[in-house]
Amino acid sequence: MANLSLTDKCNKQCTYCFAGSGNNNTNNAFMTIDLFQTALNYLKRSGIKQVRLLGGEPTLHPNFVNFVDIALENNFEIMLFTNGLINAKTLKYLHELPLGKLKVLMNTIHPNEKNNSGQKQQEKTMKLLGKKLIVGVNIFNESQDLLYLLDYIQKYQLKNEIRLGIAHPILGKQNAYLHPKQYKTIGEKVLALKIKVMKYNTSLTFDCGFVPCMFAPEYHNILRNELKNTGKCCEPILDLMPNGKFISCYPLSNFHSMNIKEQSTSNEIKQVFNKQLEPYKLSGIFPYCKTCSLFNNACNGGCISYRIQRFKIEYQ
């Protein structure tokens, strides 16, 4: 897996933004066509068949449609990570692409959110993209409600899947994130969502950073499928930034990076990053991880960005 960040420009201001695109970002960098082509070659060399486009808001790249065309011509499938605030022309283009070629993952705005500007546009996007679209949410605070996601699927006939992400701390930045102390509360909310979606065979997928102890053991049976995706994060996913640098993931963007080279493959870059992260893996996110029977077994100890912060040290 590897993600291509087409731009850090964004038309939303999420306080939790991993990509550093919210709040005060003024960079507005765009990936060049040459770099995009180099990135596709890298994906081919690494045996990766899916191009995952993200940002910022990737559809704001002036060559976005062009990039998608090039990727499709090269027989890649597209996975688009978007905030859903997509202009009408691009939305029409995405609507017309064949279902098997494009998956869109949209992080939603809660219907009752105070600052819900953009929600109308998200509704248009959901309406038009239907089964191509998976709804998701980034959880950055324990009071967030999750149950509305199923209503969106039913109302707009979306793909029968919900993706949940946890907002993690970006090293060296002050983004909003879910503190591990809040994980258990969110675990209960995820369980409530699971019970609600079971009737409809809706699958829940977890992004990185979910850990088994978020969920009380008596519910592990209900969540057995979802639990397979917990505790195994921090194998670097690799994100290629608009400036041609690879990072492990956005929260670690200030920790390490590496320029893309003509011959580099995903495995080689991961090896280098993994070596640099190794010393931090002796600790988990909680003081009790080291005595947890799952540590380094079914769970590697949670988000490494948070683990690095526990050492309160200059990490560069």
């Binding site: 070596k275 640099q276 190794e278 010393p279 931090y280 002796l282 600790s283 003081p287 009790y288 991880c289 080291k290 005595t291 683990r307 526990r310 050492f311 309160k312 040290i313 200059e314 990490y315």
Partner: protein, 88 residues
């Protein structure tokens, strides 16, 4: 007489665990785990610059008389000389 002081070297960090302390040497990209009771000594030394104050605290924690306690601290510090900087 100048008071003996002690402090963590640059690039050394630690995380407190339920059963000890994980020490990180950021320069060498290495980490090490110290369990209790040595971890308790580590925490006192890492949090107090004045060695005399640390000695008193550790003697109280371990219920050891001064000389025995100082010997114990010295043997710990000998193991941890890559982590601490001494003055005086």
């Amino acid at each position: 007489m100048q008071t003996a002081t002690i402090q963590l070297k640059q690039g050394i960090g630690y995380a407190i665990e339920e059963n000890g302390v994980t020490i990180l040497n950021n320069r060498l990209h290495k980490s090490e785990f110290i369990s209790y009771p040595d971890a308790a000594i580590w925490l006192v030394l890492a949090r107090n610059n004045d060695l005399k104050v640390s000695q008193k605290m550790i003697s109280a924690i371990l219920n050891l008389e001064k000389n025995k306690c100082n010997n114990y601290i010295n043997s710990c510090l000998n193991n941890w000389k890559n982590y601490f900087l001494f003055n005086g």
